[in-house]
Symmetry: C2
Subunit: 173 residues, 2 copies
């Protein structure tokens, strides 16, 4: 049986910020990045997001299968295609297995990317770098876990210089 | 008379960290990045660094003209090619002008990159991205000043996927 493939998709500034703060919506990214994002999400069986990211993108995400990671599942109702889970209480990989999801798109934010990295639930990373610097804000990862990656491809998305980097996680290092 | 050209040179992880902490020496970068760094420094008239970066790289920097930015110049002796300056008390651009330096290589760390960005003393950025993530550490910039950039070139430096991005600062935006 094929192992599920966990793919993080993120956009950062040249100074490595994915957002100015936890309520900063990703409207600052280029049209070309958004086009890529929608295209790759269309290929995923399910989207994995944190609660605040989900709340900000509820409308566009409502048409997709979503697993929302949250500490507080008490007042959250699951609906078809939408599952809330506290991964410290229930097993995320078991849920993925039960639903037979094979391609998991991880949409962030910082806590979710970090959680997946720590738990070895991150096989690939599509990283868009927009030609802007914020000077402050959230990073891609906030964790003590170092990781090695292998660059698979580079693509220039537009004339102003948005680039898309595709990395594979190096295991066993 | 030609305006001086301020060029920042930095290496980051894929999560945007230039170092794990302020005493973390840049030994984690690839040989290919170091080769590029030395080659571009050879073309600069002077190197601009913060005191802690200078103290860590004193030996390799001793053969180059250096301006060291520091709050405490009291116990620092200038020697030929080496000038300590507190930029809140003396003008850095005036010093550059007086010495007739035309190409200034900015080597960091975070405070110096940020200072130069804030003061419009940053025209170009050579950013190496190493295929590793730290999960924590210092960023390229720590400032409230947002900036727009234009990507001039992308170069793959080695097989594991170290890349070198060359950005020009966009002014007037």
């Amino acid at each position: 049986m094929k192992k599920p493939n966990y793919i993080a998709i993120a956009a950062t500034t040249i100074d490595g910020r994915i957002a100015k703060h936890s309520r900063h919506f990703s409207s600052w990214t280029s049209k070309e990045d958004k086009d890529f994002l929608h295209a790759i999400l269309d290929t995923c069986d399910v989207i994995l997001v944190g609660r605040s990211t989900y709340d900000m993108a509820k409308k566009p995400l409502s048409k997709r299968n979503c697993i929302v990671l949250t500490r507080d599942t008490a007042n959250k109702k699951d609906t078809p295609g939408l599952t809330y889970i506290n991964p410290t209480k229930k097993s995320l990989p078991q849920l993925i297995k039960k639903c037979d999801y094979k391609k998991i798109g991880i949409l962030g934010g910082e806590q979710i990317y970090s959680y997946c990295l720590e738990k070895n639930l991150l096989d690939e990373l599509f990283l868009t770098i927009e030609p802007v610097s914020f000077g402050f804000g959230l990073s891609l990862f906030k964790t003590k876990k170092l990781a090695q990656w292998k660059l698979k491809s580079i693509k220039k998305l537009n004339n102003k210089g948005t680039i898309l980097l595709h990395y594979l996680k190096s295991y066993g290092k």
